[in-house]
Amino acid sequence: MIIKSSDQVPRATLLKRFPIPRNFGAAPESRIERGKAWPAADGATRAKTFEIYRYDPDSGENPRLDTFGVDLDDCGPMVLDALIWIKNKVDSTLTFRRSCREGICGSCAMNIDGANWLACTRFISDLAAPATIYPLANLRIIKDLVPDLTHLSAQYAAIEPWLKTKTMEPERERLQSAEERSKIDGYYECILCFCCTSGCPSHWWNGDRFLGPAVLLQAWRWLADSRDEGTGERLDNLEDPFRLYRCHTILNCTRTCPKGLNPGKAIAEIKKMMVERQS
């Protein structure tokens, strides 16, 4: 089917996941084991089953997949509501990040039914039965659904995401025309939830050196800014077989962005700018 915007949930998918064993290639400490089951109460009329990735660093045990029954008549409409419901009513140790509950803070990014999205902007009614919830893919897990974002933050810092100027400081604000300002539309809105980077196969295999879509979109946001005067050094910094060119235009990033942005296009713009400055 044709997907028109990233928030569209596919009606039917041929495969829910790639046909490989569940713990394929996983290191011993990352292997996921069968966990506990917490069925819905007998009185629940509309019960929905959630399979949720759990990891307790203090237990010394491997990650596991717990099953929770959620009474939808007692719970809000979003996936985040279900997680809060479970934490309040079933297992208070369930750990996840959340803040704004309206898709602007990027805290509750996680892998929902096999694709990365924000738990607060995904309807429970859009989920498969049973629904599966994992933390963002391919990250070191601190606890349950909380990944360690240290490396991704360091990659973000590496592109120096601030305005760089060389000319004399003006007496007042650096002005932009409306047209110049529109060049960063679709890029400045990024909330750094890292759904795209965590969904990028190139970043899975080469994430130590490849910057990933979220950070490269930010890199383009500064390259496209008419007030920024660091274009040359920014491009020098990106001109590397791994940092930029490990992007093979798979475009899982554009498919998964919860803000409907286009990291794939931003990266193509950088590659084009890189070629144009050589000619």
Partner: protein, 133 residues
Amino acid sequence: MPSPTTTRPRPLSPNIQIYRPQLTSVLSILNRITGVFLSACAVVLVVWLVAAASGSQAYAAVQAAIGSWIGRIVLFGATFAFFLHFCGGIRHLVWDTVHGFELRSIYISGWTVVAASVVLTVAAWVAGALMGG
């Protein structure tokens, strides 16, 4: 006693094991697989050419292998792989000009590549049969 967190590495959350196959990722990996497969087919092509140059007996042996059932299935696969890789390559060329990046365009061009590859493969084999293959 050291705490378990310091002695035990943090687990890596699953990636390929759980991420949903999408047209984007599936076509990308198919482009990679067909590329590898076509490289192997290039070796077969060289073997066929060398056999043709070395004499009728060698040529007849290679021709018999390619004309066998297994040979024909591989050849059909190679035709499809060629067209999928070819059409996918054109899609990538267009992307290099920063066109066709809207999600809708990505999906339309993706399904077009799949459909065109099927049509071109069938057309190539029909043309081959009509030309007396």
